[in-house]
């Protein structure tokens, strides 16, 4: 019986907005097993990020519960760490100090913090930049520093919210390769939110499709392509087209919309 790392049980989230109550997520249940990477795709505003914040313990769900490592999430906890589209590096800290940020809050001993930051930066080929400041690094490098900071606290689950959507297409592929390799090596479990269908298919074991608001899971797709640790190689696999077609169909990205868009242009 594999270990369940992250689980959402009948999670519903309502926000009070202008007097009315807005249902962002409705009755969402799914779980991630140890070492699994699951992507969550869906239209903008369907509550994907809200689900992530619930998992991180930043929001409490209106109904239902989230569990991490079998414990109910009741607030921020050491089991999860998240990473966003923005790198959120602190400009007044050097690269190494940024990587140590989470460890410092946890109260990890200074020598141990340094050792772990150094090891991670070496793994990401950033060791020579440890004493640089964030503004001296490129967008891709900064995002890798953010990933190193996320891994430094050794979480059992990583929550990734469109982590690569702000970088250019080539850098994104490099970052995807790094992420795939790193997660495999560390045996980490991750929930990835993305708008990039190819990213979802190449990086994940499973893809979950969410509907428009109120968001709920409408489809679940098992990706049966080998080499999950190498998303760049996976791009070449013949079955990619089939998975992409099914996801596009599920998201209603079809002929109709294309025609509508063309009419809009004309």
């Amino acid at each position: 019986m594999p270990l369940t790392r992250l689980e959402y049980r009948h999670v519903t989230m309502r926000f009070a907005q202008a007097g009315a109550s807005l249902t962002a997520i409705e009755d969402v249940s799914f779980s991630l097993q140890d070492g699994e990477i699951v992507s969550l795709i869906g239209p903008s505003g369907c509550g994907k990020s809200t689900l992530l914040n619930i998992g991180a313990g930043l929001y409490a769900p209106t109904e239902g519960e989230a569990y991490v490592d079998g414990e109910q999430v009741s607030g921020p906890n050491a089991h999860v760490a998240f990473m966003l589209q923005k790198d959120l590096l602190l400009p007044w800290r050097s690269i190494a100090e940024n990587v140590m940020f989470g460890l410092e809050i946890k109260g990890t001993e200074r020598a141990e913090r340094r050792r772990r930051a150094q090891a991670l930066l070496e793994g990401f080929k950033l060791a020579e930049f440890s004493n640089h400041y964030p503004h001296q690094l490129s967008g891709g490098m900064r995002q890798r520093v953010a990933l190193a900071r996320t891994l430094a606290v050794d979480p059992s689950v990583l929550l990734l919210d469109e982590p690569f959507s702000a970088v250019d297409a080539q850098t994104r592929m490099v970052l995807q390769r790094d992420l795939g390799k790193t997660l495999k090596q560390a045996g980490k479990t991750a929930l990835l939110i993305t708008h990039d269908l190819l990213e979802a298919v190449t990086l994940s074991d499973r893809v979950l499709v969410m509907s428009r608001r109120p968001g709920h899971i409408v489809d679940e797709l098992q990706i049966d392509i080998p080499l999950r640790e190498d998303p760049v190689a996976r791009r070449q696999h013949p079955r990619i087209g089939e998975y992409m077609a099914r996801l596009m169909d599920r998201l209603d990205i079809g002929e109709d919309m294309l025609q509508g868009a063309m009419q809009g242009v004309a």
């Binding site: 914040n53 991180a56 313990g57 930043l58 921020p76 906890n77 050491a78 999860v80 760490a81 998240f82 966003l84 923005k86 959120l88 602190l90 400009p91 007044w92 800290r93 940020f101 989470g102 410092e104 809050i105 946890k106 400041y133 503004h135 606290v153």
Partner: protein
């Protein structure tokens, strides 16, 4: 701009700046004579210099300058501290901000220098009313800048710290406080020039010490060079405080790229 282009631009700019200084000093020395402006209206540079030397001997110029400088320093440091502390407290307590903002706004609109006579009534012809006017006038730009900085901290940064299980104090010291440094220094720059204004107004209103007193004394005797010397010494004091703020800023904000620090 490349480093070489920047260096050459700096060199040309500095040269032009020095040339302007020479032209200005020459115009000051010979302009009044050429334009037949009487020396009790605009005394030439040399006359102001002679008066400066005379005031050093006769009028205890350095004593008065020192007293004004000490008042400026005390007013600036205390006003900045008070402004920063109140800014942080209000920034962290939206309720307190809503409750107090009308009164703070009223106090900010009231011309601070108008309080000088009142403070002299309360505290007499001592240095304290002058320092108090400076505190009051320095307080606002520092407080407003800190308050705005705390209110506009990126909520995602706060969430990042929270996700690592940071407590309220850790969020303040590791996120909010460092984020507020650039705006705090912008406020300190403004405050450093305003501190001199506050002190001088206090000295003009009452007492027999400080450069403000020498200003009124010179005016009473129709000694225009004395007024000029006093104004110059006040500018020097303000300049030194401003420079000190900039040196401190460059140390504290060393992590920012040079163009983001804003030079002088």
């Amino acid at each position: 701009m490349s480093t070489a282009a920047r260096t050459s631009m700096m060199q040309r700019g500095t040269a032009a700046s020095l040339a302007l200084l020479v032209i200005f000093l020459a115009a000051w020395e010979w302009g009044p004579g050429l334009l037949r402006i009487p020396s009790f209206i605009v005394p030439p540079l040399s006359q102001v210099w002679t008066e400066f030397l005379r005031m050093l001997q006769v009028n205890h110029l350095m004593l008065h300058t020192g007293i004004t400088a000490a008042e400026v320093l005390a007013g600036f440091v205390l006003g900045s501290l008070l402004g920063a502390v109140v800014g942080y407290l209000l920034g962290m307590s939206p309720t307190a901000e809503v409750a107090l903002s009308p009164y703070i706004l009223a106090l900010q609109i009231a011309p601070k220098v108008a309080f000088a006579p009142l403070f002299i009534l309360w505290m007499g012809f001592t240095v304290y009313p002058k320092i108090l006017v400076a505190i009051l006038i320095v307080f606002f730009p520092v407080m407003v800048n800190v308050l705005t900085a705390i209110r506009t901290v990126d909520p995602d940064l706060v969430n990042l710290a929270r996700s690592f299980n940071a407590g309220r104090a850790q969020i303040f010291w590791k996120i909010e406080f460092p984020t507020s440094m650039p705006p705090l220094f912008a406020g300190l720059r403004i405050g450093s020039t305003l501190a001199v204004v506050g002190v001088v107004v206090g000295e003009l209103v009452g007492g027999n010490l400080g450069l403000g007193y020498l200003l009124t004394f010179g005016e009473g005797q129709a000694n225009t060079p004395m007024v000029f010397v006093s104004i110059l010494m006040l500018t020097v004091i303000g300049g030194i405080v401003y420079l000190a703020v900039i040196l401190l800023e460059q140390r504290v904000l060393h992590y920012l790229p040079a163009r983001a620090r804003g030079g002088l």
